[in-house]
Symmetry: C2
Subunit: 133 residues, 2 copies
DNA sequence: CTTAGTGCAAACTGTTTGCAGAGGG
DNA sequence: CCCTCTGCAAACAGTTTGCACTAAG
C-alpha cells in the first residue's frame, strides 16, 4: 500500500513536529482545527496510526489514559510529570542510564525495555511552591 | 472514612492474591462471577480503586489499554509480553538493575522511575516455534 | 440504627469503523 | 480515472456515576 501526502497528513506531521511536545490525538486536533476547521478527529487518529506505522512518528506507551505521539523517531526515554501529566523527552543516552537487560528473565526472552522517569516538571514545581494544591 | 470488609471486597482481594497474575478489572470480574454471580463490574472497579488507595493492592501503570492490578504491594518492576500482552513481576531487585536516577533532568525534579522489560513469555515462545503467526 | 457499599443502568471518555463522496497521483 | 483518504455519524471498549436498596459494624 502506498501512502499519499494529503494536506491533512502534512498538517498533522508539521504541527506535531513543531510542537516539540508529546501530544495526544485530541490536543493535536484542537490545534489543527484552528487552521483547518473541517478536519475530523477520526482523520487525526487514522493518520497518527499510519504515520507511526510508516515510521515518520512514534506511538508512545506512557503513563496516562490517552495515547501520545512523538515527533522524535529515535530510541529514547521519557519523563512524566506526576502533577500535570505531560510527557517530555529524556535528554540522556541509554548507555548513560546503565540499565542492564538480561537475556532472559522469568521465562521471558527479553527484547527491550521501556523506562520512564517521573517527577515534577518546571511549571508544577513553581506552582507547588506558591499555592499548595 | 472507614472501610468495611464486605464479602465482595474480600473475594476481590482473595481472587487477586491467589491468581498471582496482574489481572484487569474485567478478568477479575469474570473469575469472581463464577462464585458470586450477582456481583457487578462496577463493584469490582470501585473496590480495586479503594483497595489500591488503602494500599492493600497496587494499581499498575503498564503497557496496554486496560488498567491492571497487582497483589504485590512492594516496589518492583514488570515484564510485558509483546505477543499476548500479559504482565508478570520481574523477579529482580531494583539495585540489580543498575538504573541511575539523577536528581533533576530537563527541568524536572525526579522522584522515581518505572521500568518495564518487554519480550516473549514462555507460552508465546513455544507458539512462535511451532506456528508462525 | 447509621452510613458505607451494592447492583443496575445510564453516562462518559477515548478510540475505531462503515460509508458515500472528494481529491491526490 | 482510480483508489486512498476524508468527514461524518454511529459503534465500540473501558471506566465512572447516580440512585434506591442492602448490609456491615
Amino acid at each position: 500500500m502506498q501512502i499519499r501526502m494529503t494536506n491533512q497528513r502534512e498538517m498533522i506531521l508539521q504541527e506535531l513536529q513543531k510542537s516539540r511536545e508529546h501530544l495526544t490525538a485530541d490536543e493535536l486536533y484542537q490545534r489543527i482545527r484552528k487552521k483547518m476547521p473541517r478536519i475530523s478527529l477520526a482523520t487525526v487518529y487514522r493518520n497518527l496510526e499510519i504515520l507511526s506505522e510508516v515510521g515518520l512518528i512514534q506511538k508512545l506507551e506512557v503513563s496516562g489514559r490517552q495515547k501520545r505521539f512523538d515527533w522524535n523517531t529515535e530510541e529514547h526515554d521519557h519523563i512524566y510529570c506526576i502533577h500535570c501529566h505531560k510527557v517530555d523527552n529524556l535528554k540522556m543516552d541509554r548507555d548513560e542510564l546503565g540499565v542492564k537487560v538480561p537475556d532472559t528473565a522469568s521465562g521471558y526472552k527479553l527484547t527491550g525495555y521501556r523506562l520512564e522517569f517521573s517527577g515534577l516538571c518546571e511549571n508544577c514545581r513553581k506552582d507547588k511552591n506558591t499555592q499548595e494544591s
